[in-house]
Subunit: 241 residues, 2 copies
């Protein structure tokens, strides 16, 4: 309309903007939006606006009612596992909370994923996991934090994907976020320790040996450390609701 355009970038930065506003609470649950208002706000046509709202609806951030408009949903209805929602929650005021929740999820899932990988991974993945554990030791001993992080993410992500459970596999991005947040935002001070290195190797060895219980046990040791840190940070206050 105003923009005669030129470059045909997709008009889904709108989804990004609105999604973030809802997740950040700029738009509160119960707030009403209308297509007319939105299309003039963003300077796009009705069709584009509809497309955007359809996506937000699919994420359950809003729902549409005739004669009312688009109503912002309460957070408990949101598709908490959608990548975009996770990303938005991680970059707003709720960052700490989301980070804690994702970490807790990771703690719950990784041991079973390791067991699954040990039982079901294809042999190529087993080899790769062993190789990643070896690289982890090298980088850890060299003190290369960035390199360590990258390989650590690859290690955990591969384990999830090789677990043979698509629900676990889908969490690879979550683990990447949590590990990288831990290193970068210093939300959890991170020092690769001898014990952690040894446990990574033990997990890899167990996976290579198709030793499900062993892989699970060693992964449990790894996440238990994370968990201890988590419970320190937590206030453990009762929830208001």
């Amino acid at each position: 309309m105003q923009i005669p355009s030129g470059a045909t970038v997709l008009q889904e930065p709108i989804v990004e903007t609105l999604g973030r506003e809802i997740v950040d609470g700029v738009l509160a649950p119960g707030d009403r939006l209308t297509l007319d208002a939105l299309q003039s706000r963003f300077g796009v046509s009705r069709t584009v606006m509809r497309d955007c709202m359809r996506v937000l609806e699919s994420l359950r951030l809003v729902y549409a009612k005739r004669r009312i408009g688009l109503v912002v949903q309460e957070s408990r209805f949101w598709n908490a596992y959608d990548r975009r929602v996770i990303r938005w929650r991680l970059s707003g005021p709720g960052r700490e909370r989301q980070f804690t929740e994702l970490t807790e999820l990771r703690v719950a899932v990784e041991p079973l994923a390791a067991a699954g990988a040990a039982r079901r991974a294809p042999s190529q993945a087993r080899e790769e996991i062993v190789s990643l554990a070896a690289q982890l030791r090298r980088l850890g001993e060299e003190g290369d934090l960035e390199g360590f992080l990258a390989v650590d993410i690859a290690f955990h992500a591969l384990l999830l994907r090789a677990s043979g459970n698509s629900m676990f596999a889908e969490l690879d991005g979550v683990v990447a976020e949590v590990l990288s947040g831990r290193t970068h935002q210093g939300m959890m001070p991170f020092h690769p320790r001898e014990k952690a290195l040894a446990e990574h190797e033990a997990v890899a060895a167990a996976v290579a040996a198709a030793d499900g219980p062993g892989a699970e046990r060693h992964m449990q040791v790894l996440v238990d450390e994370v968990r201890a840190a988590l419970e320190d940070r937590l206030h453990d206050g009762q929830l208001p609701d």
Copy 2:
């Protein structure tokens, strides 16, 4: 178009149909669809068809490319945690597989969710959990399977929602599906046993007493039984990929 029709129900049975076809493999990854073909297939306008595809795109079942059309995605890209995708997978040829995966997820998550509820649940929820456990005993001893199932679902769902972790809370529907599948489809023969009843009560008592480790331990016992059954059913074959 053809259907002037009275009721203007939303034209999203189309999403349902296409989603199911993709999940069931009727439409294989890499298959190309065009808006034109689809709009004449379903007898709707281009706009409606676009809305539908936008939703499927948001579920990552397809992606759109110019000059190509809409391409069906490989299953590893699907939003595995979206309710619709879960539902579709549970009602098609992949049912067994999905059921197993959801059960494994549940086994991973519920112990930590119980611990979370013990530490963070509001007092009203604690009382309700104790009450549900008592009802469970009564119904179990009476042999009322349907009633037992309903309360069992309520028990586990409440625990997840009261865990204080929205990622766990979102899985309430998953647990409902798994429990109800176990009872109905006989995918896992189900007999409420004394031990299970006692463990449910123990979990409830621990939650009421804000005993995180206790709630976790008892829930672990409950899911370990499920897990044993799971591993019997599993072929444990290596994955092809």
